[in-house]
Subunit: 218 residues, 2 copies
Amino acid sequence: MSSSRPDPTHVPLAVVNRLTLYLRELQHLISDGEQTTSSSQLGRRLGFTDAQVRKDLAHFGHFGQPGIGYRCDDLVQAIRKILGTDREWRVALVGVGNLGRALLGYRGFSRQGFRLIAAFDIDQEKTGTKIEGVEIHAMSRLNEILAQERIELGLVAVPPADAQGVTDQLVAAGIGGIVNFAPVTLNVPEGISKVGVDLARELEQITFAVANRLREQP
Amino acid sequence: MSSSRPDPTHVPLAVVNRLTLYLRELQHLISDGEQTTSSSQLGRRLGFTDAQVRKDLAHFGHFGQPGIGYRCDDLVQAIRKILGTDREWRVALVGVGNLGRALLGYRGFSRQGFRLIAAFDIDQEKTGTKIEGVEIHAMSRLNEILAQERIELGLVAVPPADAQGVTDQLVAAGIGGIVNFAPVTLNVPEGISKVGVDLARELEQITFAVANRLREQP
């Protein structure tokens, strides 16, 4: 049935964002020994309405059974298939500064199926060396290595002023998607996926609770 | 009117999370020269229903006017006030490894009102030095410096195995909220805010679009 096939041009990024939240919550539930869950339980744990959960999942087909809910394992597999993380992804890093080094050592990537294959930097002192087992290449070898290593995703961890230039080079080299860690908005052509990591948003989430607790102190 | 006062114990974290998205989107709209917006425009740009946007904002009072919508400036001010980011926040970093150094240099924090005041590390070679103008202290001085500098928020950027121990020390020193960059789940007492940064989630958002584009190739 063609209607059950996800069409990314009709699914808002926010729905995909929420799928990644559902996935983590399901992974937590499984760790806690739970076998089934419901849209209302998932919604409650994440602060969404159960209608929102059902609507999000309905983009991709029919999940769960009346009176039983969702089997956690099945829904994890289904969401990983939807997200495309039911296989390994080959990732390149551009920019081996402090953040880049941290990303090379970040254990959360491999756990979810992302494999850092190659890194690139303009600093000739770094090229030819390895960090966390990943070789650092000169930027001039970007096209060659991306093709040779069949790399599909790029992490941009360069200074803000260099981020657009690096992005243009990744796009020219045929990258499929970019995660941008520089605090600037990048322009990419239609058809290239990008997402920006805004670390200040995480802080804003906790100031809310802290601020209100402070205000309530006698 | 007491009902217009936000009560963090009744507002789900996901609502606060979405407020930070509304805030960035409004900041983008203002940069683009827009003066007003609507729940449907905000919802469409972020992939939420307009009902979700209205419901989220209704937690905090009445915003906008029928037929006009929201004034962007006013809503930015209101959301910053709700989030508590209408003032400066004093932040400490624990762990001056690669990620810690990257966080000390991250420009996105100060732009949103977060000021990194002090850093801590167990490595005696680092203590007493400054990075990006921020002094690195020994962990033994945590209580003293946090009190003296009136620091309210902590960034945990230590190896996963050390994250819970550092968190316990921050809690004992009276921290109000913690942002955890280690890929482990932390336990904190009731009343302490925490949020975990899961960098793999950002990658999962783009694999969706990339995977589906690949599947559709002839």
